[in-house]
Symmetry: C2
Subunit: 273 residues, 2 copies
Amino acid sequence: MKLDDLLIQIKIKSSFLCIGLDTDMNKIPKFLLNEDDPIFSFNKSIIDHTNKYCVAYKLNTAFYESRGVDGWASMKKTIDYINNNYPEIFTIADAKRADIGNTSKMYAQSFFTEMNFDSLTINPYMGSDSVKPFLEFKNKITILLGLTSNLGAEDIQLKTSNNDYIFMEMIKSSKLWGDHNNMMYVVGATKTEFIQKIRREIPDHFLLVPGVGAQGGDLNEVCKYALNDNIGIIINSSRSIIYASTNEGFAIAAANQAKILQVQMSAILDERN
Amino acid sequence: MKLDDLLIQIKIKSSFLCIGLDTDMNKIPKFLLNEDDPIFSFNKSIIDHTNKYCVAYKLNTAFYESRGVDGWASMKKTIDYINNNYPEIFTIADAKRADIGNTSKMYAQSFFTEMNFDSLTINPYMGSDSVKPFLEFKNKITILLGLTSNLGAEDIQLKTSNNDYIFMEMIKSSKLWGDHNNMMYVVGATKTEFIQKIRREIPDHFLLVPGVGAQGGDLNEVCKYALNDNIGIIINSSRSIIYASTNEGFAIAAANQAKILQVQMSAILDERN
């Protein structure tokens, strides 16, 4: 998928919501455990009920890998289901991969070709030649970890070098590896002062922002600093949507939570125009 | 497996060789392509012929994931085969994972519990709370990327902060997250001046050193600076061993290459005693 197609969907749906399918066998409704593939059954219902409110689904690979080969099969069935039934939806493999060049190329083949995701999150710690193999795939988007919102960000990302933070130095370097048509950045939602700083450095790139709950508490604050003239953000919400209820109506409850965020996003977009 | 058990094997076999099973469908002997699972058939032969010369096998997850669900099945069959037939061998999932805490816990479950690897390589970019969930698993080893030998290391790892390199700052911080019984570090073999520096900072930790070819060119140089009183290194070689030949005798050719390195290692160990 091209970024232009994502942008069209954002405008059609008045939404820049991404729903995180962090599907955990211990958290899905108990009655689904009788199904052949409970993880896929859960995802299918969530997707069928929420797709009109979101423009993207993000699959966190860890949740699938924790169930080994069966988990990978559930992940493959889920991405195939989205691609076959809702091809307009942007798909993200939240895998945080990267390695030396020939190995990164293998990861790119895995997620871009074999699994057919539109995009993949990448850990930039190993630098340019670990990232560039991903950028060689046409109509695929490489999403670099820009700044994460966890405490451990202090250990490397928030150290300073050349009078700037390491994560800013990385963003400055990485601007030369690709462009805003084939790269995005993950930026944690909890640090609005950093979002401003990042937006100044990369005014045109899309940002993938996790960490905004169904409460919408931070949504306005994030949008104030992260939106650009081309919208330029996707906001992810996972648990507060997909685990909104554990009874038979779980997918409807998830849709209601997604709709609450979509309505807020629609209002923000209206205000900007 | 405990580190003590690895050390016993190193002494029994006079070897600190790790063989990297970076198994690529395009590089294995053509006659194997008729097998049900060519990747597993190749690995099984390599393992059966080389196990007496090495103390560890490292599976690079990218090579398996590039074949999707089938690739994960080949990886699972391979690790099960090693655990069932050669339980004395130390196994490494070279996966370079890490994410926020609850997600890292899922990756730990995947590789330590579900797949039953002894150890896992971790990308430390997200810091302490992304690494600690791995350290909570008993008798499992977390292997942090210390310093990689690719060009891109310049982009983050070799930047300076507080008058030291970022990779050194990371190593200093990470010493507090675990100890030499549950942590190792990956250190690229091409930079002996850095190996010296790292060894001074962490005298007791095992180092996993990739990048030494069958030529043994750098082996003596690496050992000179990396060996400690408790041996303290595992040296990985992948392609030069497993792709030594593509004819019917490929596994014997691989064994011969592994033996060349084992003999060199044995001589180095003899010299130290």
